[in-house]
Symmetry: C2
Subunit: 292 residues, 2 copies
């Protein structure tokens, strides 16, 4: 089965062709310009590469509700020209009968890990990306979570550690998870980017404290069977055991499930930095199945 | 259709008979003693009152996973005699062919509101009870959320307001949501029970601050279409607009959905103090449907 994938980011788009096993055969990327021009490039690509369905994981906020009037729109983004743009509409105009799966980039990545990666076969998983921002997607009882909108779990309020006087980077919430722990917060707090900080720098213990705290709240609310952490900051693999330690300290034994202490409860995406494009393949596969 | 309901609490059990519209025809309650004696009383009741399915919303933690070896157990409760007790097993021994729906009391109450009450027809809703403890259930994309265990969203970590020096009541987490805002925390902090505090007491503004903060995190993670707040503390109806104000302050306009500001986004259970028993009727109805 040939499936199309669009990984729509705020700075670049990646389009590709793969199959129902999450294998990618071809990929092209280009900068995100206007929605018209950018979507036209996607359309041109899929006119050259015939596919049976297209999955589109997109930066947000978006409207993923098929029953909504603004289904398929990027909605309230500050990105110039993109607010209220009907990106799925551009695709369906060009390919009227094509099954199209549309969701947030992080919901897509989460589904990719469920179909092809670290969460294969599970009914409940959470995917976080921790990089220039923090976003999260959730697969709950066999379904991607949308609800009123879609999760925005990077903006959960966290308690600030006593020894941290940093005021937070989020323009909306100051010291929310993203405001405390995304890449730009690390760089502003320590005067060095995450990549430059040595392994024994105190930044990492503080980073693990915030990520662990956020994950404790995630366990208490979404109760995932596995948590997948991707994104630039998580290339620091030494963070994983530290995050697990803090998550369990915050939970303090209240949830008595051995899984929470297991090494494979909090993991790097099995699809690695392909998580985004494979996630969109998963969205395509899901859309194809729903049409059958 | 005659359906049986068991509302299993730590201090009392209520059993009753109702129908698929959430109407209750008969109810009896008795104190929670040993699991053997208590479950026998439930069995005796349903030998007298014939039903087509039984729903059982139970205090927890429990194991609601039908594929687990300990499905139907109350698991790690500190309640004497109840840890690792196979409460559903007692029912299925007595009624081998009876469809039985078993879940947390709060998941049951949530399903009751979805089937019969304030969240009728919605695919995503959260139910919190705020009383002697704080517990929450969630209905997500048309399914009750279990995941690794089940939500324990009363124990989410919250930031303590600057003017609040109270150390928190939760033996596990100190100043988690329950530790800061459940009935016993209110009583210990102010030296008066919630019932005795006058409407203009500063306790209520602080209480709304904590509940609003917790609900902001819930919107960011579970993205419910409606939030239902039951339990003893929520009999204080003046709290609802104050909670909405604080929730929206914490979100600070980040989630642009008009619903969040609507009066009917955060509501009292439509089933009122019947929410528990009607929730168990809903669990019975769901179990009956699953068997068909």
């Amino acid at each position: 089965m040939k499936l199309g994938a669009i990984e729509g980011g705020g700075t670049k788009f990646v389009v590709g062709v793969g199959n129902e096993h999450g294998e990618v055969f071809d990929r092209v990327s280009f900068p995100t310009t206007s929605p018209e021009e950018t979507m036209q490039k996607c359309i041109d690509y899929f006119k050259e590469h015939e596919v049976e369905a297209i999955g589109f994981g997109c930066f947000g906020p978006i409207d993923p509700d098929r029953n909504s009037k603004t289904y398929g729109y990027v909605t309230t983004t500050p990105k110039s020209g993109w607010a209220q743009s009907n990106v799925v509409g551009a695709l369906t105009d060009a390919f009227p009968d094509m099954p199209i799966g549309f969701d947030t980039d992080v919901n897509g990545a989460c589904l990719g890990e469920v179909y092809f990666g670290a969460a294969k076969g599970l009914k409940n998983a959470v995917y976080y990306t921790i990089g220039t921002g923090i976003g999260g997607g959730a697969y709950v009882e066999g379904h991607l979570l949308h609800g009123l909108l879609h999760p925005e779990m990077g903006h959960m309020k966290l308690i600030v550690r006593e020894d941290d006087s940093y005021k937070g980077k989020c323009p909306y919430h100051g010291t929310c998870f993203e405001g405390l722990a995304a890449g730009p917060a690390i760089e502003e707090r320590w005067g060095q980017s995450a990549k430059e900080l040595p392994l024994d720098h105190p930044a990492w213990d503080l980073e693990a404290y915030y990520i662990g705290q956020a994950l404790a709240n995630i366990v208490l609310t979404l109760s995932p069977q596995k948590i997948i952490l991707g994104g630039g900051v998580m290339h620091q693999s030494h963070l994983f055991p530290m995050i697990s330690k803090y998550m369990n300290q915050f939970l303090n034994g209240y949830i008595q499930k051995d899984e929470l202490q297991a090494e494979d409860y909090i993991v790097w995406p099995e699809l690695g930095d392909n998580a985004g494009l494979c996630g969109s393949l998963a969205l395509a596969l899901q859309a194809k199945k729903e049409c059958e």
